[in-house]
């Protein structure tokens, strides 16, 4: 059986004369996390709403695991957990009751229901609130229950619209950990976000959209490379001890495929290098062998930001 997939086929959405989504074609397959980026009004939520049957496409198809959402919604969404625009739960219900309702709608076996609800509520750290009425909850607490609801039936595909909205920094980190753990369980996550560092941290691939049009869909490293002036990648390295300029200029700058090395502060360097993932791996090994006190090595957040700004600017 092939992995989970979602596919937008020439998807368009018009509101009168306003074209919210224009001929979007995008196919995502396999277990991975894809960040869906774009400015406000770009069409991110519109796309996710079409995939969850909250709105209808003016043209085109939205397929989940090959099933058209508008032709057979029940079957298409049976394998989807979603979180669109911070839904509200009936305030008089408790999380246990609200999640029971969802589990009954989704056909979770009765014997498993109770444990599954307790497990997902525990995953979002809301055990203490399981039997309190939702009406008394803060926005962040409600969002945690919404995430629990998306996890409940252990779906193959997750459609998440800015899932960390309304959460405090700790909550945001917890949600990121949940999403990361989903990736290890062979799930496909399609997640819109304004937070580039969040996408950088969680996602393997990025789709960028503006004015309803898809600008790019590629792996994170390929996308960031496109915007780089030298066509290369940028990685950021954090060090446990200070590094002098001489080591930077002489030793690091001379490593294979390295084009530019920046030293924003004595414990941090940014390396521009050419090539793909193999060169990145080699660079990591080279730096590790130099024993310069490297404590982290990750693609530059600012590289994604640069790419984002460049692509969005280009469409203005």
């Amino acid at each position: 059986m092939s992995g989970p997939s979602i596919e937008a086929v020439n998807l368009s959405k018009r509101y009168g004369s306003f074209l919210a989504l224009s001929n979007l074609s995008l196919k995502i397959e396999g277990s991975k996390c894809v960040g869906f980026l774009g400015p406000n009004g770009a069409g991110k939520t519109t796309t996710l709403k079409i995939f969850t049957d909250m709105i209808r496409a003016s043209e085109g198809k939205a397929l989940i695991n090959g099933i058209d959402v508008h032709v057979d919604k029940r079957k298409a969404l049976s394998s989807v957990g979603s979180l669109i625009e911070s839904p509200e739960i009936y305030p008089s219900l408790t999380p246990r009751e609200a999640l029971s309702m969802v589990s009954e709608i989704r056909g979770l076996p009765r014997a498993e229901k109770r444990k599954k609800i307790e497990d997902v509520v525990s995953e979002v750290k809301m055990e203490e609130w399981l039997d309190k009425k939702v009406g008394k909850f803060s926005k962040g607490m409600k969002q945690r229950i919404n995430i629990a609801s998306a996890l409940l039936s252990d779906p193959d595909v997750f459609l998440l619209d800015e899932p960390t909205t309304g959460l405090d920094p700790r909550g945001m980190a917890e949600v990121r950990d949940i999403v990361k753990s989903l990736k290890t369980r062979n799930r496909l996550i399609f997640m819109s976000s304004h937070l580039l560092n969040e996408v950088q941290d969680i996602c393997d691939e990025v789709a960028m959209i503006d004015h309803g049009k898809l600008l790019v869909y590629d792996s994170l490293s390929n996308v960031t490379r496109r915007a780089s002036s030298d066509g290369g990648n940028i990685v950021e390295i954090e060090l446990s001890r200070e590094i002098d300029q001489q080591t930077v200029n002489n030793d690091i700058a001379s490593l294979a495929n390295v084009s530019v090395v920046e030293r924003p502060d004595p414990k941090r360097i940014r390396i521009h290098f050419s090539g793909g993932i193999q060169n990145q791996e080699k660079l990591l090994l080279d730096l590790a062998s130099m024993k310069i006190g490297m404590i982290s090595f990750h693609p530059s957040t600012s590289a994604l930001e640069d790419t984002y700004l460049k692509l969005i600017k280009d469409t203005l």
Binding site: M1, K73, L77, E97, E104, I105
Partner: protein, 296 residues
């Protein structure tokens, strides 16, 4: 692998989805739970109890023969006169309030309060949500109606013993039919708007003022039978409790030169037909509207 009751073999991978009927049952169950926890259910119950209390006090203070007189020329059973006074005078008001309280924002609230976002993105048809919520509202309303009927019958038993006229049972059946039609109508208006307050306001104005006013104008001034108005159809609830079922009759205007006219009385088949048509038409329209409405 064991199969849950009410589940179908509509599967993706190993997943078994319940049937749509089973999903309707789930929505109904939690809708009722939501009503039982809500203030509006108890407010409506309190209104029903207040009306019952006023009637109980009136009958106890003035005496049943004074409040619901049974004149030998027009009345054969005092018990019928009592039920006509109590049930016939008040039940349509209680039903309309139920419709407004439970149906007024049932669908529009899903949009305004964003609770629909929690439900709609699940693998169930929108019609399952609509029907489930409608059934929830109906059951909650029937509970209020049953309590009101219980108090009415309780008083009837106190004054007249176990002599409950069969016309009361007929009237009770018509009341439930009217409730079904009213809820169909209020759900339709609720689907029309995305604002809860707007849908509640419009249905309240229509049922509490507009329909009665239009019926009055059409019947008395225009002099045509207002068969197209739901409240006219509901006339069978009170009419059936009268000793002699009223009929449409010509009337002479008062004094010389007075205008002749007609007093219209809905017959039982007409009334049933009006209520059924209202329910079927508004239920279909409401369902279509909800299916097409977008969560923007």
């Amino acid at each position: 692998m064991s199969k849950e009751p009410g589940t179908s073999v509509s599967t993706t991978g190993s997943r078994i989805l319940p049937t749509s009927v089973s999903q309707v049952g789930t929505i109904t169950k939690y809708e009722i739970l939501n009503y039982f926890r809500s203030r509006r259910f108890f407010i409506l119950l309190a209104i029903g109890l207040i009306i019952s209390g006023i009637f109980t006090a009136l009958v106890a203070y003035y005496g049943v023969s004074n409040v619901a007189p049974c004149l030998p020329s027009t009345c054969s059973t005092p018990a019928l006169a009592f039920y006509s006074f109590w049930w016939g005078n008040s039940i349509t008001f209680v039903i309309v309030l139920s419709g407004i309280f439970f149906g007024g924002d049932a669908i529009s609230g899903e949009f305004q309060n964003k609770t629909g976002y929690f439900l709609v993105a699940n693998p169930l048809r929108r019609s399952s949500i609509y029907i489930g919520k409608w059934l929830g509202a109906l059951i909650a309303s029937v509970i209020v109606l049953a309590i009101y009927a219980g108090i009415t019958v309780g008083n009837g038993l106190f004054y007249f013993g176990a002599n409950v006229p069969f016309q009361f049972v007929e009237s009770l059946s018509f009341s439930i039919l009217y409730l079904i039609a009213v809820l169909g109508f209020t759900f339709f208006f609720s689907s029309l708007f995305k604002s809860s307050s707007m849908s509640i306001l419009v249905t309240a104005i229509l049922f509490l003022f507009a329909f009665s006013l239009i019926q009055l104008i059409v019947a008395n001034l225009v002099q045509i039978e207002p068969w197209f108005i739901i409240t006219y159809g509901s006339g069978i609830i009170g009419n059936v409790l009268m000793d002699t079922y009223p009929t449409t009759q010509p009337i002479r205007g008062p004094g010389p030169g007075g205008r002749d006219g007609t007093t219209y009385a809905v017959t039982i088949p007409e009334g049933i037909m009006i209520l059924l048509v209202y329910f079927i038409a508004t239920a279909i329209l409401g369902l279509v509207l909800f299916e097409r409405k977008e969560f923007t």
